[in-house]
């Protein structure tokens, strides 16, 4: 059962002479526990696709199905409460962490649970247990501004996975980190995504980060032009590349 199926997603900004087609028939399907990277040059539509899938900035046309249920979006109509969808099933990890500065580290993680109706006491207990797993337990009661960049991104990952979402969308989660810290965060995302059976879609510019991903989608000019599986052996020094449907 695919965790998410985004079918022929098109996004158009502006009208008439100012019209810009940011996405054109982009199709992507990700299973639970699968790790997918979105790559491509700047302006290729990676972040736009992520925003469209999360319904933060819905597409102009296409269809989005989460957990093989009814479509959550179809042909310019959002068919569900988008915030409820993001609260319960999809989570986003930001490039710039976007932690809430006036909440403590533990409260930042617990926030997601309390929004889903978990009592504050239980939410804090689960938040602390997860922070312990991520070696952040000693920092649980401080504010995020006092954390290092790597710690802040680990906290952002903790916030994303704490309520076991079906889909995690990560927008260049390692862009603000050096290579070593970036790899550590990607490893963490990979491990937690598999453990918690979440489909992870991560936008990245950095080819060194795609090691360990199940599939890479390459985008150019708003289209997905190819996809490949980095874990498969390369043939004649080249990755096995197959065109994706609908693009």
């Amino acid at each position: 059962m695919p965790a998410i199926f985004a079918d022929r997603i098109t996004k158009v900004f502006g009208h008439g002479e100012t019209e810009v087609v940011a996405l054109k028939d982009a199709t992507i399907e990700v299973e639970r526990g699968e790790l997918v990277a979105l790559m491509g040059p700047s302006g290729s539509g990676k972040t736009t696709l992520l925003r469209a899938i999360s319904l933060i900035d819905p597409p102009t046309s296409g269809r989005i199905i989460v957990l093989a249920g009814e479509p959550v979006y179809e042909n310019d109509r959002v068919l569900v409460d988008d915030r409820r969808l993001r609260r319960e099933k999809t989570r986003i990890i930001f490039q710039s962490y976007n932690l809430i500065p006036f909440l403590t580290v533990a409260e930042n993680v617990a926030l997601v649970l309390t929004l889903n109706g978990v009592s504050l006491r239980e939410a804090m207990r689960r938040a602390r247990a997860l922070l312990e797993q991520l070696h952040l337990e000693r920092r649980a009661d401080v504010h995020p501004a006092t954390l290092s960049g790597g710690e802040q991104q680990r906290l952002a990952v903790a916030r994303a996975v704490v309520n076991d979402p079906a889909v995690i969308l990560a927008d260049e989660p390692t862009a603000s980190l050096d290579t070593q810290r970036g790899k550590a965060v990607m490893d963490l995302l990979r491990r937690l995504g598999r453990e918690r059976k979440a489909a992870v879609i991560a936008v990245t510019h950095d080819e060194r980060m795609i090691e360990g991903f199940d599939r890479v989608y390459h985008m150019i000019d708003g289209r997905i032009d190819k996809s490949w599986q980095p874990s498969r052996p390369a043939i004649d020094g080249e990755w096995v590349v197959r065109p994706t449907g609908g693009s």
Binding site: K46, R86, E88, R91, S96, N98, I100, D171
Partner: protein, 130 residues
């Protein structure tokens, strides 16, 4: 040397000076604080916080600030009123009315902030990129 104030026949009464106009500035303050938190509000929307949660946070903030300001003002005035040359008699009822006014101003102030917060675009939480 300050002249002692004329005695009042209404007891118990507290003599103090107040500046209710200070409460009015609360409105601008809450509005500005909401503007400063635009990115955090957008983040809350992205993580799925419903409008009522966001509105509740702003209302709580406004009421907390208003009540703290009221309490601080009451303590300061009760300790310093004798040093003021002109005084206004404020009864317990007056203080209660002032409290109601403070709460009312805070609620109105928060409505302006809530109105602004509910119009924050969730994409404001995201960085650039394509």
């Amino acid at each position: 040397m300050l002249e002692p104030p004329p005695s009042s026949t209404a007891a118990p009464q507290r003599r103090t000076t107040t500046r209710p106009s200070a409460c009015v500035s609360c409105r601008g303050f809450i509005y500005t604080m909401t503007l400063e938190k635009t990115r955090d509000i957008a983040t809350l929307k992205v993580v799925g916080a419903p409008d009522r949660t966001i509105a509740g946070l702003i209302l709580q903030e406004a009421l907390t600030l208003g009540l703290l300001g009221y309490a601080t003002g009451a303590v300061l005035i009760s300790g310093t009123y004798q040093y003021f040359p002109r005084r206004v008699v404020v009864t317990a009822f007056d203080q209660f009315v002032l409290l109601v006014i403070v709460v009312g101003i805070c609620v109105v102030a928060s409505l302006v902030g809530i109105w602004k917060a509910l119009r924050v675009d969730p994409t404001a939480a995201l960085g650039g990129g394509a």
